[in-house]
């Protein structure tokens, strides 16, 4: 299957060949030929964002909620540099993205031409791989490789920088079937002997815990199914990172809730006290381990990860298994089934008793109020009133993000989109737009903070243009709450620059963007207001006025171990908890 066409036509043709139905982009001089080629076809829908950062986050939301590769098109220079935050975000959270950037014509590269920047140089460290296309002959191969690299192994963003003259040149297009990457072959199958050793450890465990992460989501919905089967077969408790929420259903009795800095008491103490830890697709991030030398001191650790560099990076493990979580889980399940010992249920009973006593501390509880909406209460109600629908949640970054993770419960994978690794304020609204495009009939909610939402507010225009009924639910505490909380914890309550002054009137702002605005500050009216939001067929900005100085608890303060959590019933001054060494950590 070969055909002659221009470089620009090849880009569009390759998108069609890779089943791309949605493209997020913003035009400019260096990509005009591609925009011209897009104009002359109907199978790829171009979504015009209002800022290139928004394009990448939208593509991330689209990708994370659908399992497909997200695709972006931006111009040279400022178009490319605006995309950098999104690319870095996708790299940190392992999201498959292919980003086309325009470049000045080849003969001008290096001359400081108009809107020239060294895109491959700038994005080398924030992409899984990148390419500068110097010859039309290479273009089709590079595009097919880019899609393969983006989605294979540990997924990530790939940039293809295409000079304008290459977009005009004619060449021969070859389809994706004929391309194989020269060097990149991630290992998908786990080593059988290592898996057997892992199962042997699991079978002997008295205090086991599953610690699952974003890798299970990356491995696809089948992997979540297998995880459920395996967990239920073993009867072991299971916790997950922020990135893995939904892989295991939150309404299940074996579920301990999220772990880590703002995780539940039972999840963190189970990690601390376990004798066998089974990590499936999580990367021992510092929000999880806390103080490394005190991290789960007595456990033998199993780690399943597709990226060999994740294994033994932060924490030394006894059994490392390199492979796709879905494949390895299947084998674990099969071996465990064959060797299962009925007595083990009895042997782990004391462990469950201990866990249940931790559960009884009710670490997600909070002081309720009749006068003011507690942010936790708002998320609780939002969950209660939407749980019977097909609901997708995105977030911005801050306290609201953690409250969403704690109080909105996910029973399915791919329903929860959040910026975990980079923690990018401004992620949630564009991501929600991407999710809504992938799931036109679903209810898509961005749980936001009043500060974060302003970082990519311009994307409301995008939502309006394409009639995307995304719901922006702002937990408006008039503070950069997470910053304020750390200032209370670490800096004597001196709230330096963390107050959200001169906020816009969010209801009027919604109206200015052709959307509906709702404001609510009374707990008694909250349910009705949420119903109004859900029932409205277009985009909504919901300004939920919440308690201003609520802290997000429980919390493992920086530099502390898992068994040194601050719980909601803590009575002292939180400003006295962290010592000078801990203050240096982030």
């Amino acid at each position: 299957m070969t055909e002659t066409m221009t470089g620009a036509e090849m880009v569009v043709r390759a998108m069609q060949d890779h089943d791309v139905d949605t493209l997020f982009g913003y035009p400019g001089g260096a990509v005009l030929p591609i925009y011209d080629a897009l104009f002359q076809q109907n199978s790829v829908q171009h979504i015009l964002v209002r800022h290139e950062q928004g394009a990448v986050h939208s593509a991330e939301g689209y990708a994370r909620s659908s399992g497909k590769v997200g695709v972006v098109l931006v111009t040279s220079g400022p178009g490319a540099t605006n995309a950098v935050t999104g690319l870095t975000d996708a790299l940190m959270d392992s999201i498959p993205i292919v980003c086309f950037t325009g470049q000045v014509p080849t003969h001008l590269i290096g001359s400081d031409a108009f809107q020239e920047c060294d895109t491959v140089g700038i994005t080398r460290h924030c992409t899984k791989h990148n390419y500068l296309v110097k010859r039309i002959e290479d273009l089709p191969r590079i595009i097919h490789e880019a899609f393969y690299v983006a989605r294979s192994g540990r997924p990530g963003p790939v940039v293809i920088d295409i000079p304008k003259d290459i977009q005009f040149q004619r060449g021969t297009y070859t389809g994706p079937g004929e391309v194989q990457h020269k060097s990149y072959r991630p290992k998908m199958e786990g080593d059988r002997r290592a898996i057997e050793r892992a199962v042997d450890l699991m079978l002997k465990a008295k205090r086991p815990v599953f610690y699952t992460g974003g890798g299970v989501i990356n491995a696809g919905p089948e992997a979540s199914k297998t995880l459920r089967e395996l967990v239920r077969l073993t009867g072991f408790p299971v916790t997950s990172t922020l990135m893995g929420l939904g892989a295991y259903p939150a309404n299940d009795p074996l579920w301990l809730g999220m772990l880590g800095m703002h995780g539940t008491y039972e999840a963190n103490l189970a990690m601390h006290g376990c004798d066998v830890m089974i990590n499936i697709g999580a990367r021992f991030d510092d929000r999880i381990t806390g103080r490394l030398d005190a991290f789960s001191p007595g456990s033998r650790k199993i780690h399943v990860d597709i990226d060999p560099s994740s294994i033994n990076k932060n924490v030394k493990v006894e059994v490392g298994i390199i492979g796709d979580a879905g494949n390895v889980l299947k084998e674990m399940l099969e071996i465990f089934k064959a060797k299962k010992r009925a007595e083990q249920a009895e042997e782990i009973r004391p462990w469950w008793k201990e866990i249940n006593s931790w559960r009884a501390r009710n670490s997600l509880s909070y002081q309720r109020s009749k006068d003011v909406i507690k942010p936790q209460y708002a998320v609780e109600r939002l969950y209660a009133l939407t749980k019977n629908r097909k609901t997708y949640v995105t977030t911005e970054v801050g306290q609201h993000q953690m409250w969403a993770a704690q109080h909105f419960h996910f029973d399915e994978p791919n329903r929860w989109m959040t910026s975990g690794g980079l923690g990018t304020m401004g992620y949630g609204l564009p991501a929600a737009i991407g999710v809504q495009l992938a799931h036109p009939d679903a209810l898509v909610i961005d749980i936001a903070g009043e500060a974060s939402i302003l970082m990519n507010m311009q994307e409301m225009s995008t939502a309006a243009q394409y009639r995307l009924p995304v719901k922006i639910f702002i937990l408006n505490n008039e503070y950069m709450g997470m910053v304020r909380q750390w200032q209370e914890l670490l800096h004597g309550g001196r709230y330096s620059e963390s107050y959200s002054s001169a906020l816009p009137d969010f209801v009027k702002l919604a109206e200015a963007y052709h959307a509906k605005g709702i404001r609510c500050g009374d707990p008694a009216e909250l349910d009705a207001a949420i119903h109004d939001m859900i029932d409205y067929p277009g985009p909504v900005i919901f300004d939920c006025l919440v308690a201003k100085e609520e802290n997000c608890l429980p919390m493992i303060p920086s530099g502390k171990a898992h068994n040194e959590m601050i719980l909601p019933d803590f009575a002292g001054e939180i400003g006295d908890i962290i010592d000078s060494k801990g203050k240096q950590l982030v």
């Binding site: 080398r124 460290h125 791989h129 060097s183 990149y184 030398d293 560099s309 030394k316």
Partner: protein, 181 residues
């Protein structure tokens, strides 16, 4: 009492040297990618050499000498291996490889130094098996190929005699025995 929050460097964490051979696609930017990975993650590069080895296959061979604790060195190997254009990473240190580098060493008469120093320079060069590749009435250039330690010692000796300039290639290395990469 452990007052730090991350484990302190204890005596068990010995800093070792390791030589990696990295086979890469000879595509633009590949060296920047590798060097950038080292600087971005805070790893040391003690020596780095690169050149195309198999032109038809577009392959280059990069030899990197680096140092760190065993954990860091294993992490470096994994980080190299996950770069998309990398075909293969081999830990040559574990294979008792042959390691050589080449140095060009310029020595010149300094102020009052007399013929005695000239003779001494030539004697040392002969002892190390260095070739004299250039000579003037007041200077020599020696070419020495050998293990880095030898090169190091030779340069130190020449410093006492009138070292002007050194140019070193960095390490090239290859595993012993019949087997290829």
């Amino acid at each position: 009492m452990n007052t730090t929050h991350y484990p302190t460097l204890t005596t068990q964490q010995i800093i070792e040297k390791r030589t990696f051979c990295v086979l890469v696609d000879n595509e633009p930017g590949v060296l920047a990618r590798i060097a950038g990975m080292f600087s971005g993650r805070g790893y040391n590069i003690e020596s780095l050499t690169v050149s195309e080895t198999e032109h038809e296959k577009h392959l280059s061979r990069i030899t990197i000498v680096t140092s760190g604790t065993a954990n860091v060195l294993n992490q470096i190997e994994a980080q190299l291996d996950r770069l998309v254009p990398v075909h293969k990473v081999v830990n040559l240190t574990s294979k008792a490889a042959i390691e050589r580098e080449l140095a060009l060493v310029k020595v010149a008469q300094q102020g009052e130094t007399k013929g005695e120093h000239r003779m001494e320079a030539l004697r040392l060069a002969a002892a190390f098996g260095a070739k004299t590749v250039d000579a003037t009435l007041t200077s020599f250039i020696f070419e020495l190929a050998g293990p880095s330690d030898d090169v190091e010692r030779f340069i130190n000796l020449m410093a006492a005699i009138g070292l002007v300039e050194v140019s070193r290639t960095g390490v090239a290395a290859i595993a012993r025995g019949a087997e290829g990469l």
